[in-house]
Point group: C2
């Protein structure tokens, strides 16, 4: 997906290019003609990739549609060991790492991410797949935290709750970010980073909300 500093083997670059091509064809097509109206067959034809390979590159159509957003969480999972080496409140640590990852996505990421986020809002099936990725992130964090704070009672639940809050904050920020009519062309990752910062900062107070 990313153009690596170390390019990797010839093969893996071919795969990465095919994946990238599929995403770049798919997301605008989904936005224009609707998610259901664009078939995997058509996408494969356009990208000159066989149907069989499509399903080797992606977990499914929904995974393809969410590639830009999922890449954020997958990157974060990959960096978890480094991230959790930090200190301070877990929510702060995870939040800053999330923002850092967003700021370091490859060039052009924002345009595709906006399309992906809008798709997620319009199609429940796509949304559900996105939540699954976040859930996988949560499981990684829970596993790592339990291992690190070995034996601490409730570490499990704490990690789960913090992740839930981080994910909810992320979803809220992305919603706002992608809902400006011209977001497709003008939204920047810095905008999203700022929204994430604001959202996550507001979280502790948010829990206090009372009914009159």
């Amino acid at each position: 997906m990313t153009t690596q500093a170390v390019p990797g083997t010839l093969r893996s670059r071919r795969i990465a290019r095919s994946r990238q091509r599929l995403v770049e064809i798919a997301l605008p097509a989904f936005a224009e003609r609707g998610y259901d109206a664009v078939t995997v067959d058509w996408l494969c034809e356009q990208a000159e990739v066989s149907r069989r390979s499509f399903f080797r590159y992606f977990d499914g159509k929904e995974d393809l549609a969410l590639t830009p957003l999922n890449d954020v969480w997958r990157t974060l999972i990959g960096e978890l060991d480094d991230v959790l080496a930090g200190s301070g409140p877990l929510l702060t640590v995870l939040g800053e790492a999330l923002i850092d990852v967003v700021e370091h996505m490859p060039p052009g990421w924002e345009h595709l991410a906006v399309l992906s986020a809008r798709l997620s809002g319009r199609y429940p099936g796509v949304d559900a797949a996105g939540m699954l990725t976040c859930e996988r992130f949560t499981e990684h964090v829970v596993g790592a935290i339990v291992a690190r704070l070995d034996g601490a009672p409730g570490a499990d639940l704490s990690a789960r709750v913090v992740c839930a809050v981080a994910v909810a904050g992320h979803r809220a920020a992305v919603d706002t970010w992608c809902s400006a009519p011209d977001a497709g062309t003008t939204a920047t990752r810095e905008d999203l980073a700022a929204l994430l910062r604001a959202t996550l900062a507001a979280v502790p107070g948010a829990l206090e909300i009372r009914l009159p």
Copy 2:
């Protein structure tokens, strides 16, 4: 689903019975032979319901698999207006309402709910569908809260975060509840209610967790 005090029309009771029959055939079958190995065709044959009607009764195979757990959230959504008439911290209000709903599910609910929960743990697709239902609950709460606290800045985010926490607590409680090997026969709704109470009480402290 529930045996109503007011039985409703003949028609609606026939439908409810067909739905119930499908759920009672499906969940044990899923547990025994695996979710994928049990086809909708087979289920329809067993329950003597046409394939076409199946998809009129349920949103899909996953909806069927999650009926017991989804019913909790759907009931809660139905009672939202009453629930939000209460006062105090939103998290407490929602938590108590959730526990109340669980305690008033129809007889026999617990056995099917355990099967449903285990299925959700084993099959990501099913899990994702469950998260969608929770998301729908969140949207209802957000809508209602924004309407009630008209104009309060951040009410939107607050409601979202509280729901995320409530849902995470619920998931954690249900996970624990259904993972005892003999839960299928011995788990009671009171057990689950107690777990929910404990989990939700622990949440405020959970957010404070720090890395060393």
